[in-house]
């Protein structure tokens, strides 16, 4: 087993957040960052108060949220690809993301009309958006599972997922159409994904769900690997195929809903990262889940850096960048498939 790629990845996972802390509108250098970190632990270092707040309260939570989102969506995609044995599976394919987006957009649009101008607004809003996103994604999963047939046929699931996804996208478009122009532009920006709303308070839930999912998925590694060999083989190894499949679907949808509620719709990461990792880290199947989480996190940190620095002073929606890269990758995967 070649250890070099893993070492490189771990180094990247350490260096990338520091680089991301330095890059931004405000001019902050590596030594500033060092001083700020140092001043947290010792009185010997001093740092500029405003720079310290920019780094600690704007950039750091943002980078952590980006990392958690990239890691979580990649993990969700990887698990979905395994339990459905479909290389193109990701939270989008099963309507999980579009259901979550619809739920969240609905809450934003309606709460916006009813509650505008209230004081403790954003905290209630956040809870409402998370709840709406989860209910939307849960409905998607229920539709997909109920249509999957008694033997949980994968083809039926994929088709049901695609149809559900379109249904929720249409509903989201309808809400956008009905909103007034300015609110529509905000909703659109939201639905394309951004980490700009990150703060320390809203990091907890994504962090906890990622840890829980990671532990549970790790615990199911044997069953998941068995599923790759086909339902019959898995059954003969004593795996309760349907139970495993449905519980994995519910877990991934819960994780996706929480991430979407905090960041908006970010597509294709769940599809793309597991494929890249499987190709780059061929002989590391024992640690694949770790590698996918780290790779997805690092990737998303850099996507966010691109999003906030590609056009000076402007912030591009993250979803545009991931989807642009992701769709090209999708085509490449398809091309390879047709060769083999």
């Amino acid at each position: 087993m070649n250890k070099l790629p893993v070492i490189i990845l771990i180094l990247l996972a350490i260096i990338s957040p520091v680089m991301a802390l330095v890059l931004g509108v405000a001019n902050i250098s590596v030594s500033d960052v060092f001083n700020i970190v140092c001043s947290q632990f010792s009185d010997a270092c001093s740092s500029d108060a405003l720079k310290e707040r920019i780094v600690l309260e704007l950039r750091l939570p943002r980078i952590i949220l980006a990392f958690l989102t990239g890691a979580g969506l990649s993990l969700a995609g990887s698990v979905l690809q395994t339990v459905t044995r479909n290389p193109l599976a990701d939270p989008y394919l099963f309507g999980i993301s579009s259901g979550a987006t619809f739920g969240a957009v609905l809450v934003i649009a309606f709460a916006g009309a009813g509650l505008a101008g209230q004081g403790l607004f954003s905290d209630w809003m956040r809870m409402g958006i998370t709840g709406g996103a989860f209910i939307g994604s849960a409905i998607s999963v229920l539709i997909v599972i109920s249509l999957a047939g008694r033997s949980v046929q994968i083809e039926r699931m994929v088709l049901a997922g695609v149809a559900t996804s379109f249904m929720f996208s249409a509903a989201t478009s309808l809400v956008l159409y009905a909103s007034d122009p300015q609110a529509a532009s905000s909703l659109l920006f939201w639905s394309l994904g951004s980490f700009s709303r990150a703060d320390w308070d809203n990091l907890m839930l994504p962090f906890i769900i990622l840890i829980i999912c990671f532990i549970l998925f790790s615990g199911f590694t044997r069953q998941l690997t068995a599923l790759l060999a086909g339902d019959e083989n898995a059954r003969s190894l004593g795996v309760e195929v349907q139970k495993v499949r449905i519980s994995m679907l519910l877990l991934t949808s819960l994780m996706t809903a929480i991430l979407v509620a905090n960041t908006g719709g970010i597509g294709f990461v769940g599809l793309m990262i597991p494929h890249i990792v499987r190709r780059l880290y061929v002989n590391h199947s024992r640690h694949l889940m770790w590698i996918i989480v780290l790779f997805g996190g690092v990737f998303m940190v850099w996507v966010d850096v691109v999003a906030r620095s590609l056009i000076h002073g402007h912030e591009l929606p993250v979803g545009i960048i991931t989807a642009a890269i992701g769709s090209v990758f999708f085509l490449l995967v398809m091309r390879r498939k047709s060769w083999s």
Binding site: A26, I54, Y177, S179, A183, S185, S196
Partner: protein
Amino acid sequence: MLRLFVILISISFFSNAYGYELPNVKNAQRIIALSPHSVELLFALGVGDRIIGTTDFADFPEAAKDIERIGGYHGIQMERVLELKPDLVVAWQGGNSDEDINQLESLGLPVYRSATKRLKHIATEISVLGQLTGTSAKADALIKDLHSVLAALKNKNKDKPKVSFFYQLWSSPIRTISTGSWINEMMEICGGENIMQDPSVEYPQISLETVLLSAPQAIIIPSSHGHDNGKLSGLKWEDWPEIPAVKNNHIYRINGDILHRFSLRVIEATQTVCETFDQIRLVKH
């Protein structure tokens, strides 16, 4: 080629300042006004009762609320417009879709394209509407009034210390006005200094870091239809006392309808802005 050239020359010769021909209307009686500001200006000219159709957000003056709605942001109901048989349609270049305006023209309706871009265009607009409705004398009086009030405000504030401000047009994403925007002209009259000095983009989207670094003395938030009040982003200014505007509690909400419409209410808007800046100057920093 020569023919095309002649046509182009003649078009530019007969058209008004915006490059569009004015409809040949002298005393319009059945008007469809497709923007809130043209409704306000027609009422100011005393011919508001001649408006027979307008769009969703035309809500000032009070009487405007009774006018039939024939469209809005998503488009114009062409069939209803034809049914109403208007003798003048005041369209809004940039506010209504180009397709809609072109279709109105190709249907043979007399269309005037209101194309306001700067503060001075309000006067142009009043003058043209006066011409089209046979109220030029009233129009001239209104223009004179507008000019004298704005000139007086400008004169009064020109030697006062500058007040740096951030204009929070929208909070998610954070969008502001730059020095290239016409709204900024009102701020300038009152001695305001925009933290966004790049005039190339009128309504730039910026990051919170930019606002923090430029440390504005005032934050102006226009309140209007559908304003999100920071709910999506959770923009909580009180978390950032490093900004002088936050520390001194100089965050002001001003009615966005009077600030953002090309109507005579810009007088009220400018007066409010000037008073706001005066309050800020009173506080010693």
